[in-house]
């Protein structure tokens, strides 16, 4: 009984240290809050930028919902209607697309810099875990949203991903081998990617994921505000600035500037112009599949290794990284910021190389093996 009591006591102690509700006051969270000023201070703005892009996503997403039809027969036509016939529809849709990419980019930078600055260290473990959850939810937003326009690249890329899930079963032992097929069937909803899949992805994209995202975001923001900004560097920062109004002011200026840039991009540069037009034609199950079917750029870090390396190697790597991501505060508990920075640079280099040169590496690799 006493052992159980002490376990309970330890759990309460753990959470009260991580979520110090006694600090929940205007003074502590706003007026007395200080932000350290040092060479990595710019990284403190990345979380705010991610939030800005999420807000743009939410507002433009609601506008798109007014016209979007989640049926395989009308989805593509409704997207075309939004783009070419609804007033400012093109702008809203392009803003949604551009800001989704910007959101993922900012989130990745935010995660990498938070890692390098050791912002996950005690008592900020929950901040890191909720952030990791937000990263996964954001990728899920990207994956589910990609299918909704029901064009060639969307449906075919989704098929490839779902096929990969099923393939994972080949490497699992015994009864576990059927689990991926089961998961695939749940996601897909029918024998092939079709109406059931679209309905599921639509429900996930507009209802389930936003609800989960709000929950995780609430926990993340509360945790950040309760603990304040992390120290970020080894030596204590010589200078600091007030969170309110100075940091907030700079944050808003940055938001305004970034919004302006994204707005100009959305107005002048259709995101789809970076891809070949056959990829954006309505999906035709009986027609030919166009060249260049690929997932969105933010999945290249996973897509190209899948194309080059044996499937099990990538799956194993992905499984370890996913678990590792949530365990970061405990794995790197005693690691210095210098070492963390080196690891962060390696991760960033890998992501950049795979995103920009993945195709080239794939071609070189394919060429040498054909």
């Amino acid at each position: 009984m006493s052992e159980r009591k002490s376990k309970l006591w330890r759990t309460i102690k753990f959470f009260s240290e991580r979520i110090p509700l006694h600090k929940m006051s205007f003074e502590s969270m706003v007026s007395k809050k200080e932000v350290p000023v040092h060479h990595m201070s710019w990284a403190y703005y990345m979380g705010g930028l991610t939030l800005l892009f999420f807000s743009i996503q939410m507002i433009t997403g609601i506008f798109l919902l007014f016209y979007y039809q989640p049926t395989v027969s009308d989805a593509h036509a409704s997207v075309e209607y939004i783009t070419f016939f609804v007033k400012s529809g093109f702008l809203v849709r392009n803003l949604h697309t551009w800001s989704s990419s910007c959101m993922i980019l900012c989130l990745m930078i935010h995660m990498i810099t938070a890692f390098a600055m050791k912002s996950f260290a005690r008592p900020r473990e929950l901040t890191w875990i909720s952030g990791s959850l937000l990263l996964i939810l954001t990728f899920s937003f990207g994956f589910t949203g990609y299918l909704l326009p029901w064009h060639q690249i969307a449906v075919n890329a989704t098929k490839v991903v779902l096929q990969s899930i099923e393939e994972a079963g080949r490497y699992l032992p015994g009864a576990l081998s059927t689990l991926p097929t089961y998961i695939k069937e749940i996601i897909q909803g029918e024998a092939s990617v079709g109406q059931a899949t679209l309905s599921r992805f639509y429900a996930l994209h507009v209802v389930v994921l936003p609800l989960l995202f709000f929950g995780a975001l609430g926990l993340h923001l509360l945790s950040v505000q309760l603990h304040g900004m992390s120290q970020g560097i080894d030596k204590l920062a010589k200078k600091s600035e007030k969170f309110f109004p100075f940091f907030i002011l700079k944050d808003f200026w940055l938001w305004g500037l970034v919004f302006l840039v994204v707005f100009i991009l959305s107005l002048c540069l259709p995101f789809e112009s970076f891809y070949s037009y056959p990829l954006f034609e309505a999906y035709d199950a009986l027609g030919s599949t166009p060249d260049g079917i690929k997932p969105e750029w933010y999945f290249y870090f996973l897509y190209y290794p899948l194309e080059i390396l044996p499937f099990w190697v990538v799956m194993l790597g992905m499984g370890i990284s996913s678990i590792g991501l949530f365990m970061v505060p405990w794995i790197f508990k005693n690691t210095s910021r210098k070492v963390l920075s080196i690891i962060a640079w390696i991760i960033a280099a890998y992501l950049i190389i795979m995103t920009f040169f993945g195709q080239l590496i794939y071609e070189i690799f394919k060429g040498s093996h054909s």
Partner: protein, 190 residues
């Protein structure tokens, strides 16, 4: 019935040899490095042969008659509109005539020199000829070489951008002062 079926197949074979010009598609793909398909000139992305909308097998009697007339458009300026071609495809036939198209089939680069240098069917600021070379769709204003599209749209929308810049600046200036006022008020109350 059997005779009709054979006739249908013969019509299919004849039409596909006459109307599909993959040489131009291959050329555009080579010079642009982009993946393109028959939808650049045809109504259907899989080309003229088949039973889907915009393909020969789906045409009604009136459309078949129009197709017959278009097939006879050997000289430029015939005004014939082929139901299996899109606007760009029909413009090519109109400007060059089928005779020339068949002549330059083996040297598709000549198509670029032969077409009008000013025609821009989708009004995106990039001419059809440039779009053909860039491997982008001449009838889709959102599809074009990214840099060219950006430049043209920036020039087209400069007033909106200027106004938005002003609005953002004014909004931020107002917010800046509002927050400073709030901070001062909070300090005074302390």
């Amino acid at each position: 019935m059997k005779a009709l079926f054979i006739l249908g197949i013969l019509v299919f074979m004849y039409c596909s040899s006459v109307f599909a010009h993959p040489e131009f598609q291959r050329y555009s793909k080579e010079v642009s490095g982009r993946s393109i398909n028959c939808a650049m000139c045809h109504m259907h992305s899989d080309g003229p042969v088949g039973l889907k909308p915009g393909q020969i097998g789906s045409l009604n009697q009136d459309e078949l008659n129009a197709l017959g007339l278009a097939r006879q458009a050997f000289k430029p300026g015939s005004g014939a509109k082929s139901p299996i071609l899109n606007e760009f495809g029909n413009v090519i036939v109109e400007q060059l005539g089928k005779e020339k198209i068949l002549m330059i089939k083996q040297r598709p680069e000549l198509l670029v020199e032969s077409l009008s240098k000013t025609s821009d069917l989708d009004s995106d600021g990039i001419t059809d000829v440039e779009e053909f070379k860039d491997g982008t769709h001449p009838l889709n204003s959102l599809d074009g070489h990214p840099w060219k599209l950006f430049k043209n749209n920036l020039l087209k929308n400069w007033f909106h951008i200027l106004m938005l810049g002003l609005a953002t600046g004014c909004g931020l200036y107002g917010l800046y002062n509002a927050l400073l006022w709030l901070a001062m008020k909070a300090r005074r109350e302390e």
